[in-house]
């Protein structure tokens, strides 16, 4: 069974004069366990709003129609109190800036165990043991010591690994990562991409990676969807999408990249 199936999703949010504004419509996508779905598209194309809809984190007064099936459970129309039980437990999210998504005044261990004790009903010592396990799983060194440090004591890449460990704490079926490497150094980014790749094969999680960076998607995504102006204009296996794009917008996007490369390759001869 697919971990996440979105069909004919439409999201409207209240505008400045309370008139509903349609942000995305006719959105359909699907992620299987152990696979990575890449969402590409420029800012304002609706990629983040679609993922927030899956998380049930849309602005107050938003209207969602269509279907979001999370492991067979329909999320559209669910009450906030029910959604709260799913969020973090069956679907979890990682954001662009790990410093603002972590609590600065709590140790890594405290923010990890709080979450696990609430959702999984673990006692303090079991939760702490599990926290250290998770920190090891995201390849952080000395996990036993790390539970006692504060976010500011870690580098940006380590913080993003902690954010991923927290997201994994309740064994979610789906992990949504919104621009997870955009704020990081390229060397650190390479490590995080490797981690997503490892998690996919080790724990078989279904991952959704949202990014404007096509290079990132080319290296880790199995399947891709391309957003433009609130709609999906192209979807398919990522290899095909990069080598034989069908929609004019995807072609333009890739062509923009290749002109940069061509220019640079011709430069040495000009010297």
């Amino acid at each position: 069974m697919s971990a996440l199936v979105v069909e004919d999703l439409q999201v409207q949010i209240p505008g400045p004069d309370r008139e509903p504004i349609t942000i995305v419509s006719e959105i359909g996508m699907r992620v299987e366990p152990g696979r990575i779905l890449g969402i590409a598209g420029e800012s304002g194309s609706g990629k983040t709003i679609s993922s927030l809809a899956v998380m049930g984190l849309l602005p107050r007064g938003s209207r969602v129609t269509g279907s979001i099936l999370l492991g067979g459970t329909e999320l559209v129309g669910m009450r906030e109190s029910q959604l709260r039980g799913l969020r973090g437990r069956r679907v979890a999210m990682v954001f662009q800036d790990p410093l603002s998504s972590l609590h600065p005044m709590l140790t890594i261990g405290a923010q990890m165990t709080d979450h696990m004790r609430r959702h999984l009903g673990l006692n303090r010592s079991d939760a702490t043991r599990k926290a250290a396990d998770l920190l090891g799983r995201v390849r952080l060194p000395n996990p036993q010591k790390l539970v006692d440090v504060y976010p500011h004591q870690l580098s940006g890449g380590m913080r993003q690994r902690v954010a991923i460990a927290i997201a994994l704490a309740c064994d979610p079926q789906v992990l949504i990562a919104d621009e997870p490497t955009t704020a990081l150094d390229v060397t650190v980014q390479a490590g995080i991409l490797e981690l997503f790749d490892q998690l996919r094969s080790e724990i078989g999680i279904a991952t959704v990676v949202i990014t404007h960076d096509l290079g990132v998607l080319s290296s880790i995504a199995d399947d891709m969807v391309v957003f433009q102006s609130g709609r999906i204009v192209e979807s398919g296996p990522s290899g095909e999408l990069f080598t034989a794009p069908k929609h004019p917008y995807t072609r333009t996007m890739l062509a923009a990249l290749s002109t940069v490369t061509r220019d640079e390759q011709s430069t040495p001869e000009r010297r």
Partner: protein, 334 residues
């Protein structure tokens, strides 16, 4: 493209910036670097977090303590600012900060802030109508409508705020703009637009731009030359295309290899082993040797100096070139 014989507007010579940490360890955040910048030229400074690139920017502005070495703008030395005001002679050197929300005044309209910058620059009083026209002109140069003048900074997006910060810098008729991670706090998709605007504005007005960023893709797209920093030192510097197409230093190589390629081949970018060492305990010899895939025993002993090898300047004893020539190398001014 800049003509190579124009005199540099900004010269940084053997700059050292040292700090004492609370644990009393001395950190040489910038450890003897030399750079120059010509009118209309864009010099990108790249490197991982903590390599000292922002400290270079701050030292150029007089905001970081210059321990030794020099920074000169058209022959005028930049000194570390104390309590006195910044010398008027340095007004043509302007800075753009990462956090545009903090750089702008939230309680004054955009127009008022730009008008103040115009007034500060002009030697004689400028008539209100004249100022207004200049403010509208500044906004136009950064692609904002003149109606933006009546609004407050919080009414704008991060990208628009950074454009307002650029407009304010332009009010001083700058010859040098130092931009410290100007796009990293922006939404991913407005980054390219803002970077391109910086490039166009500086080229058009012959402003030298020192562009500090950890985003290699953007630096590659807009810079004429690139300096790659590691632990307070420049390890490689040269023309952007040369550095990118044929990086000589193993660290530059590692950075370039870590950039994922959008070719649909599903290949993970190569990672670089280890973490950046504690800057208070810089490794002996070449600071990069503990992480370097090409290191030999000598690398832990010999401090490499930056010298011209092939087409870029490189600080690495493993890269053949310059020193191994049988005839004396041609001395090139830079």
């Amino acid at each position: 493209m800049t003509t190579p014989d124009t005199a540099p507007v900004l010269t940084v010579q053997d700059l050292v910036v040292a700090f004492k940490r609370p644990d009393h360890a001395v950190v040489r955040a910038v450890d003897g670097i030399s750079l120059d910048l010509r009118p209309g030229e864009i010099l990108g400074v790249v490197g991982e977090s903590g390599c000292g690139k922002s400290t270079v920017a701050r030292a150029v502005m007089g905001l970081a303590p210059i321990t030794s070495g020099s920074v000169e703008f058209r022959g005028t030395p930049v000194r570390t600012l104390g309590r006195r005001s910044r010398p008027a002679g340095l007004r043509p050197v302007q800075m753009i900060f990462q956090d545009s929300a903090a750089a702008l005044n939230p309680r004054r309209t955009v127009g008022a802030q730009l008008a103040e910058a115009v007034r500060a620059r002009a030697d004689e009083p400028v008539a209100a109508r004249e100022r207004e026209r200049e403010v509208a002109g500044l906004l136009d140069r950064v692609g904002l409508p003149s109606t933006a003048a009546g609004r407050y900074s919080h009414e704008f997006s991060g990208g628009q705020r950074q454009r307002i910060a650029l407009a304010r810098a332009l009010a001083s008729r700058p010859e040098v703009i130092v931009a410290d991670e100007p796009i990293s706090a922006l939404d991913a998709s407005s980054q390219a637009y803002v970077a391109e605007l910086f490039m166009d504005v500086c080229r058009d007005a012959s402003i030298g731009l020192l562009f500090i960023s950890h985003d290699l893709g953007i630096v590659r797209a807009i810079s004429d030359r690139v300096a790659v920093m590691y632990l307070g030192k420049v390890v490689e510097q040269g023309r952007t295309a040369d550095v990118w197409n044929d990086p000589q230093h193993p660290y530059t190589r590692a950075l370039v290899d870590a950039i994922p390629v959008a070719d649909g081949a599903h290949i993970l970018p190569r990672t670089l082993a280890g973490e950046v060492p504690d800057p208070a305990a810089v490794p002996s010899g070449c600071p990069f040797h503990p992480r370097c895939p090409r290191a030999i025993d000598d690398c832990a002993v010999i401090r490499p100096v930056l010298e011209l090898k092939r087409h870029t300047e490189v600080a690495c004893i493993r890269v053949p070139g310059g020193v191994e020539l049988s005839s004396p190398p041609v001395v090139r001014a830079h």
